[in-house]
Symmetry: D2
Subunit: 368 residues, 4 copies
């Protein structure tokens, strides 16, 4: 019941605050013998890193990861390999500007966790949001890199599919475009429009929400564990645990409410080795178990509440006041949620791979 | 890592199949000294019970609960009271029609868990859906009744807010109407329209999806546990674990994606004892911790796939065929999800109440 | 964190009180496809059953198990087989004599859990010890029978090796004798002497302690999970959780304290397929991981405190008094602990088998 | 199911290898608002530190702890205080001598975890024992220091009570002596004799086992959770998880097997506020729940297998060979187990304090 941990057999524990000396993660339960280099982790951390475009926070962090345990290399191991023991990774916080924190120490920022942390615990590390900062997601992304090593040929990718009210056109969807724009967007035309839109938002001192879609391909049939360890339930928990996320859906999601059974149920046909589905309203999950189709999850990220517009709030002494949140903030925090969503999807799948293997002795389905 | 269990300190474990002898639940971690009568559990089970209107399955079950352990009564206890030990409850399955199951034994019903259970485990109890049947939700509702006893004056209620494409009008919202129509709907005008609509759906042999909204009031500030035990993450997991649920949102939910920070962040004002919020886009949760406002969760239930329209599918031998699902089914399974959603909300809150108390020694906030 | 549950991947949850309507267990995480009949469970329950000799309690219970879920049989399954879902089993309590409980209601029996349960929870089900009764071990033995099905050719056996101050002679050790005497004792000569000794104890209205040794053979190298999920740590927890157990040791155990490193370390020699050990001071476990040798655990059971000799105690109102515990009790509760120790060993090993398989993808060692 | 984690509500996760860059721990679930300074942790780490006398390993480590998260200090907090979030602590490994590891790379040391780690995982970090090294106990001791802060006026102390065959005389027992000799021994006369004895053992290149006794005072009635979360079961798991421990007992322990019920059951008398016990054979635990008496646990540590005497073993290629373990080792590893045993006792008690508070809302008994 460690609330800073996520997962069952593949389980990580995260620690660190925005303006403490470092943030880190311990990954437990990773299979032995997998190649794991700092570069494999760094690659994902670099995608999450702040300050890469004018659309994300200007905080400057090298975000260099150190792997402190759980990996061993000698002349026989052909590269650094996981040993099956706990893998600790740490990233130092370097850009913690020395500044006057009295404003956020004494006032609650509306829409932030300031008030609830303070009330729950009676004190809080208010510097940069402390533990509630998105800086914590460094831990997730590092753990996700390990999860990818566990997953082998399962491919986990994500794209921003909506910024403010502006959605992508799925007809333009091209995974190869995701790396070509500052939004991790698979629709290059949408990305171009968003750049203008977000410049306006940024200049007005405001922010907007966004929707991220995460897709996992090559997931075999059979991962997921009814009833309360459903793949869908664990994915919902995973995505909802990300900072600022307020909604999660699988496959047709909320749209399914408006559909009829005739429209919604994915019909099946016999394939050469196993059946296939004629559609994927299920988002790759039936009864909480993967059905072999791509696993499709979308989640909504609310607009950051750190904006330049003055807002009504109260002091920690319960007195009315106003606040303007200055500093380095993201006009659309949803952008940087893209690699984080990928990481959480990878962790959930790695966990269910190991659990399925534990219970059934198989990597994939028992049935065929 | 018991996948048929839900919760941390307040934790229940569910068992039973649709056509087995019984279904049941064991609730562990319940505080001692609470009054718990079979009637308190029965009241909630009766709301979930099938066959109460023409809009739900015609399966006839008495659904009489027996409390088998964890409760004690003598002349000193002033009624049956929980003892702090595990509470076992059981409901016998009485209406398991003897019938020919060869159709669903040999074919996978599209949109059902038949295929994935069979593949994951290599065999399945196909009778009435076996373990994947909504019959399992008896366990949740019974556990939810115990959770209500734990929660005291926290009020957990739910309403159906959308059936197919038809939404309620929130201007008509009246909790007192929920018990007056077969849809658990707080908008009596919507309920009247839905009756006609669903009659059409039912007669056409089809089904539709729905959206349920669950609201908890009187939740103190401070429940919820960052980072991976967020109240929102546990609620997402709880709701997504319900049969046929494909989407979950908190407060503004997916709508938040289209909002600006100015619109979305709930401003605060000083109240007599503590601050209050001018709006509730947050759905009562900030940073994963309750903020004192009503906790608001919505989830989407897909249309049941058990419909009279012939659908393309395959046999368990991977051969193309068609299927028509006969038998007693719900045209809108979302209706009966209303008391189930309440139960899951109650269980999550009871769990977080106990965890908050464990970590902080308080029932509510430490801060004031 | 369900305290009435045991295990990780193979996990059971127990419920029921001595004088409630029934006791039961839910086993979660069992692999699918295993043959599991009521007879397989009944066989172990019958060995634990009270009233089988004059040396155990005269409570008369049929202890007939019902399997309520998780097992399915049709023409294709070649007997009832586990489905991979939760397995519920229940045994009704039939011999709950209606009697006057006021003596144990109003006084704490020394050496019993009466005082601590009452204080911890503020109330208790005092009838026959309620939840603290050894009747709960029905759940363990039933779960253990499922665990044996998981373990396949791993053989788990136990023997009583000491009663009061009287130890067996290991030179006489013969597993085949265990079924031939009322003590589950592998030394028939010791068993004969114990019969006389225990008759004396019984007639004097007193009781004695005992030591049980449990041995598992054919355990492959590699089960167990450092650091806090060591096979030895889980076995220690398992055995210490049994009623009245106050001590646990592995292999040389406490004797190891008096040995030198030269004496204690088991030397190794090359075998045809893998190395073997020249001795087994380690009790089959090194660094928390099985080494291929028999896993050997011993545990001490204290004498039951329910004796006919008057003892000093207090009332629930904290007033001095005396108590004599009448009723049906065991002069040596250690006897019936033998099948319970086997069951707990089987559950721990089944759990670690699944976890090892989950993390490594192997049934046995990765190394060779 | 993180096997490198220990505890439920108060839970720590450990990482690091003997010759990696550092070892560390993340403590999760610690209550907020407690004063926690590096000095409080360092004090306990210094007691565990190697190289403090000629009777422990000559490895030289500063063992300076850094607290990396979970603690916050400003002008209002009156010292550094826990924030309720995860507390990460790290100790760098400084004395990792560069040397030739080929001997232990290619051969299994008898009595060590070399063979089982290698077989379980297919590879191992053999340098200094890697993850199986007692260096890991730095993590436990650091976590234990936090647990002491949680426990307030509960006093946890330990003494070495046996070295090889030589026991202390309990008539000489004086807690104040523990700090006056290199053995953490409460009997100064025994300590004097042990010095001579161990000099002989050390010079002969051999080692011996030991027994440690840990005692917790001021534990209120009511901590512990039946059935599988018994205080005794968690303590057994905690102590058995320590390197080289092969046996654990509570109170009378194995001696209880030889006692009669008349001798063993602790009689009770009415005290001014609550009852008290006339003896403590129970070791402070009845039915898995603390009874208000001192909690007394003893555990046996086997002699280290790293000795200068040549021993028979095999190579990693399964070929017969001999081995002599050179290097810096403890003639009696039991000595340094004393502060480790204290730490584990403190962690178990802190955990049960929080769980009891969570379930019952009380710090101590509900009953009076």
């Amino acid at each position: 019941m460690s609330h800073n941990s996520f997962g069952h057999l593949f389980r990580f524990t995260s620690w660190g605050e925005s303006h403490g000396p470092a943030v880190g993660v311990v990954v437990d339960g990773c299979p032995p013998g997998l190649v794991l280099t700092p570069e494999m982790v760094q690659r994902d951390l670099d995608r999450r890193k702040p300050g890469q475009s004018r659309f994300t926070t200007q905080r400057r962090e090298a975000d260099e990861v150190r792997i402190l345990s759980g990996v061993f290399e000698d002349e026989r191991t052909d590269g650094p390999r996981t040993t099956g023991t706990s893998i600790a990774m740490m990233v130092e916080n370097t850009d913690q500007r020395s500044k006057d924190y009295s404003e956020i120490r004494d006032k609650y920022r509306p829409g932030h966790a300031d008030y609830t942390y303070h009330q729950k615990y009676g004190l809080r590390d208010y510097r940069g949001g402390g533990r509630s900062s998105a800086r914590e997601t460094v831990a997730r992304v590092a753990a996700g890199a390990v999860a990818r090593a566990v997953l082998g040929d399962v491919v986990v990718r994500a794209s921003l599919v909506q910024v403010g009210p502006h959605k992508i056109d799925y007809n333009n969807f091209d995974w190869d475009e995701v790396g070509n724009n500052p939004f991790f967007c698979a629709d290059k035309e949408a990305a171009a429009r968003w750049a203008d839109y977000l410049d306006g938002i940024r200049k007005s001192g405001d922010s907007v929400g966004a929707i991220v879609e995460v897709v996992a391909e090559n997931v075999p049939v059979g991962w997921g564990a009814p009833i309360y360890g459903k793949l869908s339930a664990d994915l919902a928990s995973a995505m909802m645990s990300i900072n600022a996320v307020k909604a999660v859906e699988i496959g047709a999601g909320f749209e399914a409410a408006a559909l009829t059974g005739t429209e919604n149920a994915d019909q099946m046909r016999a394939g050469p080795d196993r059946p296939y589905f004629l559609s994927n309203a299920a988002g790759g999950i039936l009864g909480g178990i993967s059905n072999g189709d791509p696993v499709v999850v979308r989640f909504a990220v609310k607009p950051t509440s750190s904006i330049l517009t003055p807002r009504q709030t109260v002091t920690t002494e319960n007195v009315d006041t106003d606040i303007v949140t200055k500093g380095r903030h993201d006009p659309c925090v949803g952008i940087r949620a893209v690699p984080i969503g990928e990481a959480m999807m990878a962790c959930v799948l790695a966990d269910h791979k190991l659990m399925h293997r534990g219970q059934t002795g198989r990597e994939g389905p028992v049935g065929y």
